[in-house]
């Protein structure tokens, strides 16, 4: 490993960390504004730059974009209360166990295309922390560790409601991990690859997975084999998205923290920054989940209709630096779009009952995913 690789990876770690941690407050803000707009309200629109404090005539509202900062300061200043009846070690460990996996799994997501470095001739940088060959699997593996944070939080709190929340979440997350993993197998069969960077690159050449129209590529504009597979891919997309809702404990599957039954579930006993870590972990998981959906089904950083083929350097397959940065913007736009979708669904669909949730996972999605794999495999074997 030479110095250049080391430095560029370190910078990438910082960049990805910053992006995910910035998207978390942005999604909190969006959650509040979108929910308000859906309910004919306005939502937080006041907190901006308090310029009047520095002698200016008017405050700068910025549509209340600084509301999450105010929320964060509030959470920092709240009393950090640890009840006497808890198991202290695990009580403190649990919030970290929720937050860390969510941030870790962002490592394999390609945030942009392969970039020709502007000042280093002939050097190329992949805009992802770790371009490993097992991208989605690594995300599932690390995401499966998130459940410890919730279970341990429920157990260590040593009280009824958190415990019920922990028990619910462990059963729910294990069940839906299976659907999550099985549902994308048709997609992986189609790509024949587990490397998210290459999956995104292929979609930039042949069009997005769910929008397989590409001009200027090597192949035809519309590949009929992809069209044939499209129904199975669509089913995979639906199962994957719904399972992701369950896996990230988002409504309508937010039973572990179901406030009408369990006060607020596994984080009932938490306050101040410990609670904030749970909160941020949930949103970080949502950000990474959206990024994974976008990368697998909506072309990752790729522009639609194979427009990238016009900019690409034909010899190396890399992009000039401005195109790479634009791709990063495209990717973030898509991710934020999906976050808004998550929020939109949350404020539309009422919460499922626990037995309905389990039935949906084991009776509907599990079988559907298996049948879908079989169908996709047969189609690929015959026409692929």
């Amino acid at each position: 490993m030479d110095l250049f690789t080391f430095l560029s990876s370190s910078v990438m770690v910082l960049v990805v960390f910053t992006i995910v941690l910035t998207l978390v407050p942005i999604s909190v803000y969006l959650e509040r504004r979108v929910s308000a707009v859906i309910q004919d309200r306005l939502g937080p629109n006041r907190v901006g730059l308090p310029l009047t404090l520095f002698g200016a005539k008017k405050d700068f509202h910025l549509f209340g974009l600084f509301q999450p900062a105010a929320d964060g300061i509030k959470l920092f200043l709240k009393e950090d209360h640890t009840p006497a009846h808890v198991n202290k070690f695990y009580f403190i460990l649990a919030p970290a166990l929720v937050m860390v996996p969510a941030l870790l799994s962002a490592a394999v997501i390609p945030f942009g295309s392969t970039m020709d470095m502007p000042f280093f001739e002939g050097r190329q940088v992949q805009l992802a922390v770790a371009n490993v060959d097992i991208g989605p699997l690594l995300i599932f593996a690390i995401a499966s560790l998130t459940v410890y944070g919730i279970v341990i939080a429920g157990w260590a709190s040593n009280s009824r409601y958190p415990f019920l929340g922990g028990v619910r979440s462990s059963a729910q997350m294990i069940s839906y991990e299976i659907c999550l993993g099985l549902s994308i197998i048709p997609v992986l069969l189609y790509f024949g690859d587990l490397n998210l960077g290459r999956i995104a690159d292929q979609q930039s050449r042949d069009g997005w997975l769910l929008l397989p129209i590409a001009f200027g590529g090597d192949g035809p504009v519309v590949d009929w084999r992809t069209l044939l597979l499209l129904p199975t891919l669509l089913i995979a997309f639906i199962i994957f998205t719904v399972s992701l809702f369950a896996e990230t404990n988002r409504a309508p599957f937010d039973l572990p923290e179901c406030e009408t039954e369990l006060v607020s579930g596994y984080h009932t006993e938490y306050s101040s920054m410990k609670f904030a870590l749970f909160f941020m972990g949930e949103y970080a998981a949502m950000v990474v989940g959206s990024a994974l959906i976008v990368t697998l089904f909506f072309g990752g950083w790729a522009l639609p209709f194979g427009l990238d083929n016009l900019i690409r350097d034909p010899a190396t397959g890399a992009f000039p630096w401005w195109a790479s940065l634009m791709h990063m913007g495209v990717f973030l736009t898509k991710v934020i779009g999906f976050i808004v979708f998550f929020i939109w669904v949350r404020w539309t669909v009422p919460r499922f009952r626990y037995d309905q949730l389990m039935k949906l996972g084991w009776v509907v999605f599990f079988e559907l995913a298996l049948a879908n794999i079989l169908l996709a495999a047969i189609l690929i074997a015959i026409f692929g």
Partner: protein, 177 residues
């Protein structure tokens, strides 16, 4: 106890799929979002700029206040009925005798101290209902604020300031409050 058997509707395949209903729901929420974004529909009042004042309902119960009559006499005779009935015990009255040389000496009693602790007040309106002299009324003031607990105690001057003068035959049971 009779049991009522509810017949659950039998769902067809289309309804069981759940997705059509989901899309329908998403369309409804999207419709609300769009109409709010275009400014057509809005339930929120932008508080410091827009206030309730004009659209306050007739029956609104705000801060309790004392009133004087047309001759400038304070109507309260310090009977302390409101103090007794007040459920959160927000009212404190210290009565005094009206000196004989006073114009209203015949009334005999008036409050020397009349305080309502607005942190305690629950705006129930029992004081208004119980008052035999029609001296205390619930006005439409709702923004009662203060930086300390002392600020939140309304003394006699403050109560008269809110209440003002009630002229003519004040009948607390009619519309003219």
């Amino acid at each position: 106890m009779a049991y009522i058997k509810i017949k659950r509707p039998r769902l067809g395949l289309f309804e069981k799929l759940y997705l059509p209903a989901l899309i329908k729901g998403l369309r409804i929420t999207l419709g609300h979002a769009i109409s709010t974004l275009r400014g057509k529909k809005r339930e929120t009042m932008q508080y410091p700029e827009e206030k309730w004042d004009d659209n306050m309902p007739e029956h609104y119960r705000g801060a309790p206040a004392l009133v004087t009559d047309e001759q400038g006499r304070e109507r309260c005779v310090a009977c302390q009925l409101c103090e007794f009935i007040c459920p959160p015990r927000a009212i404190t009255i210290l009565p005094e005798e009206i000196p004989t040389e006073d114009k209203w000496a015949k009334v005999e009693k008036r409050p020397r101290k009349f305080e309502i602790d607005m942190i305690r007040c629950i705006y129930c309106g029992l004081c208004e209902e119980v008052c035999p002299e029609q001296a205390i009324f619930l006005r439409k003031d709702y923004a009662i604020t203060g930086l300390t607990r002392e600020d939140m105690v309304h003394d006699k001057e403050k109560l008269y300031e809110i209440g003002g003068v009630r002229t003519g035959l004040v009948n607390k049971w009619n519309e003219l409050k």
